[in-house]
């Protein structure tokens, strides 16, 4: 199962002789004539520091990276000298730029690195005791946070599943994925901590949501899985974060949602810019993406778990009395429409507007009579 290399070094006479030579101080120094380009790299903005954008030059840059970088298949960094026949082949499977690339991906990575935060210390956990919350609201909030804890790790697992298959020539994308992995681990962490600090405990896992997560993880290609996860699922979660900030029972909770939102927005933007890159550079793959989103939208519609839906209603109405439920339904109805509207907006911005007419959400909206004109927006 494992790879053990092609050379037993201590049984290799060349290697042994070379080591003995080294001991005498004889150096070869051939590596000093690498023949790689010398470039002038400096931080364009002192405030931002030395970014990947500053390093985007000549053979080291990503702008000049072709759609298919032929040759490099190992660990050699882009721009280093390497021998195509001698390199250790890591057998990357994603070797086309359009398989993984997104506009602005280097900026997304730098932003992620500069906005790292820590759920342990950035949230004023002890302040939770200062705010009285009705028990039913805390229970509903625990259900909402159980859901977020459940779904956030998919956005670690799915990109991780594909990252190690990507050619190292696309290191900006791989760097971004690593930043997304830690973002999402932190999200799962912060929601778990919030549930367990709230005095209620974890609530129900949601079977229908889990089927969507399975469908994301089992996507046939990285781009199809990305369209489902980044654009649709994380897009929906982003709208829910915004909604959750609005209905948060305490300022501590508002702080949590403000922090997770900025990360989630970045992930959604990557998905949108990846889709746009494909549409611009590999338009023949559009139908394949349509088919993937047909199924993704179907799963998304099936994701009606009454525990979550009702928890949001209780939170939005701030209780379970009839007038509170009525108010909660108005707000949650608006959220549902907003999720779909924002998804359509992202499709438009990605240049994929012909998806909108084909979307599975259209017949659903018509059937439940929740068109744009019908939504009652809360004041």
């Amino acid at each position: 199962m494992s790879y053990y290399g092609s050379t037993d070094y201590l049984a290799n006479s060349d290697f042994v002789l070379r080591m003995k030579d080294l001991r005498k101080g004889h150096l070869d120094l051939g590596w000093m004539k690498a023949g790689t380009e010398q470039i002038e790299v400096n931080a364009e903005s002192k405030r931002r520091g030395l970014t990947l954008l500053d390093c985007n030059q000549s053979s080291y840059g990503y702008d000049t990276l072709p759609e298919i970088p032929r040759g490099p298949r190992g660990a050699a960094p882009r721009g280093a000298a390497y021998d195509v026949n001698e390199q250790a082949d890591l057998s990357p499977e994603l070797n086309r730029k359009s398989d993984v690339w997104a506009y602005k991906v280097a900026s997304f990575y730098e932003e992620a690195m500069s906005r790292q935060w820590d759920a342990t210390t950035y949230i004023p956990w002890s302040d939770l005791d200062k705010y009285e919350r009705p028990q039913e609201v805390e229970i509903a909030f625990a259900q909402l946070c159980t859901f977020f804890t459940e779904v956030e790790m998919i956005a670690t697992d799915l990109p991780a599943k594909w990252m190690w298959r990507m050619n190292n020539q696309f290191h900006e994308v791989k760097h971004f994925i690593a930043s997304q992995a830690i973002d999402e681990a932190r999200h799962a962490e912060v929601f778990r901590k919030r549930v367990l600090a709230g005095g209620v405990g974890l609530m129900q896992a949601l079977p229908q949501a889990e089927h969507s997560l399975k469908a994301i993880l089992d996507g046939d290609s990285y781009s199809e899985a990305s369209a489902f996860m980044h654009l649709l699922a994380e897009g929906n979660v982003l709208t829910m974060f915004r909604f959750s900030e609005y209905i948060s029972p305490t300022p501590v909770d508002k702080r949590i949602f403000q922090l997770v939102m900025q990360d989630e927005a970045r992930h959604v933007s990557y998905g949108m810019q990846h889709l746009k890159w494909i549409i611009d550079h590999s338009p023949e793959r559009k139908e394949q993406l349509h088919l993937a989103l047909d199924e993704a939208e179907t799963f998304s519609i099936s994701q009606f778990d009454s525990a979550l839906f009702e928890a949001m209603i209780v939170l939005a109405g701030k209780g379970t009395k009839p007038d509170q439920i009525k108010r909660g339904i108005e707000v949650v109805g608006t959220l549902q429409v907003k999720q779909i509207e924002e998804y359509f907006g992202r499709l438009r911005r990605a240049g994929f507007e012909d998806r909108i007419a084909r979307s599975k959400f259209q017949p659903l909206l018509a059937m439940i009579g929740l068109g744009k004109q019908d939504a009652q927006r809360p004041s």
């Binding site: 070094y9 001991r23 790299v41 405030r47 342990t120 790790m153 681990a185 799962a188 600090a197 609530m203």
Partner: protein, 362 residues
């Protein structure tokens, strides 16, 4: 898609009926009666914040995870109520001892609190007067090139396994995400170090490529973890020490300190993971040792490669200081292997013979 919904829900009147029922105000609310167990976690030491240790109480702590997880293959968080109908997400790592370390939660917390951003935390301006001669600059860039390769592949190793791990082990999954970003930052920081000013990358080291491929393609997670965390990062930590000792400016000193700090976290997990694995399943000792014999052969190839040892010698002012440093790293490495329960590896490892070829000894 590989996983297809059993019906087209957009045409499903049942879903619509359920939504409409709730929207008409007929809520069930039975879910409000069931919780998995109330706890009221608070920071045990307020200046540290609310840590993973603080929330690992009662039904939510890792003590309740059985050696073989048979009850949950979904993404449901550990301790949540598991209703019927949860699908399997196909996890392949379902034995606690295959992945577990009691240190993982604390290492995760440490990884977050010691985060740094190469773009603005490294004093890049200090390289304007680097204090390095031209050959030393070239040597530094060559070592940076190799550290970029290490960073790239060592971000891929946890990525290759994390999605196959059962969610019951979330502390380990979180830590693997920290490893992904730590390794990525190594690649980023040393790429920038190689290019900054009037710079460039060096040559790909074939022997390093071979070693990284061996680590990357380790057949099991314990073998991958022992290879990367216990073996490779012991030497990355040693290399950080050498870079720190020869640094002639604040930027290189900063990079060396950060590299050492991050590498130490990998090593700490590696030692504790192997130790806990071998306590639970001592029979694994020989297969791990056999794997490490081969990995250490790859390590010897890398350490002896011209592209590695020669730039180190140029920076250190000769081969002897490099050999002494390798010998110190080897000593530490063998102590760690013994502490992890692998026994005395000195007798079977190629590292002591390699060092003696160079006139040094572990």
């Amino acid at each position: 898609m590989a996983y297809i919904a059993p019906k087209d829900y957009s045409q499903d009147p049942e879903i619509v009926a359920r939504v409409m029922k709730v929207m008409a105000g007929e809520l069930d609310l039975s879910w409000m009666r069931d919780t998995a167990g109330a706890i009221h976690a608070r920071p045990s030491q307020p200046h540290y914040g609310l840590t993973m240790d603080d929330i690992n109480q009662g039904p939510y702590g890792p003590d309740r995870i059985p050696e073989i997880v048979r009850h949950n293959f979904s993404m449901a968080p550990r301790g949540a109520i598991l209703p019927p109908g949860l699908p399997s997400l196909g996890y392949r790592l379902n034995r606690k001892s295959e992945v577990w370390s009691d240190l993982a939660g604390r290492l995760f917390e440490e990884g977050k609190s010691r985060r740094w951003a190469p773009a603005h935390d490294v004093p890049w301006d200090a390289l304007e007067t680097s204090g390095l001669s031209e050959p030393q600059q070239i040597a530094m860039r060559q070592l940076c090139t190799e550290l970029v390769s290490i960073g790239l592949v060592c971000a891929d190793v946890p990525a290759r396994w994390v999605w196959q791990m059962n969610q019951e082990f979330h502390e380990i999954k979180y830590l693997l995400c920290v490893q992904m970003i730590d390794a990525t930052r190594i690649a980023e920081a040393f790429r920038k170090r190689a290019l900054v000013g009037r710079g460039g990358l060096g040559v790909d080291c074939k022997e390093l490529g071979e070693l990284l491929k061996m680590v990357f393609e380790s057949g099991t997670y314990p073998c991958a973890s022992a290879s990367m965390n216990l073996v490779l990062f012991s030497w990355v930590q040693g290399l950080a020490g050498q870079l720190g000792a020869t640094a002639r400016n604040r930027a290189d000193a900063y990079l060396a300190v950060r590299l050492a700090q991050d590498a130490t976290r990998f090593v700490a997990y590696g030692v504790d993971h192997v130790r806990q694995l071998l306590r639970a399943r001592p029979a694994e000792q020989e297969s791990l040792n056999g794997h490490l014999d081969a990995i250490e052969n790859g390590l010897v190839g890398w350490l002896g490669a011209r592209e590695t040892i020669e730039p180190l010698a140029i920076l250190a002012g000769g081969v002897d200081p490099v050999i002494r440093s390798h010998a110190r790293t080897a000593d530490l490495h063998f102590v760690r292997c013994a502490a992890a329960g692998l026994g005395d590896r000195q007798g079977r490892s190629p590292i002591p013979r390699f060092l003696s070829l160079l006139g040094g000894h572990a």
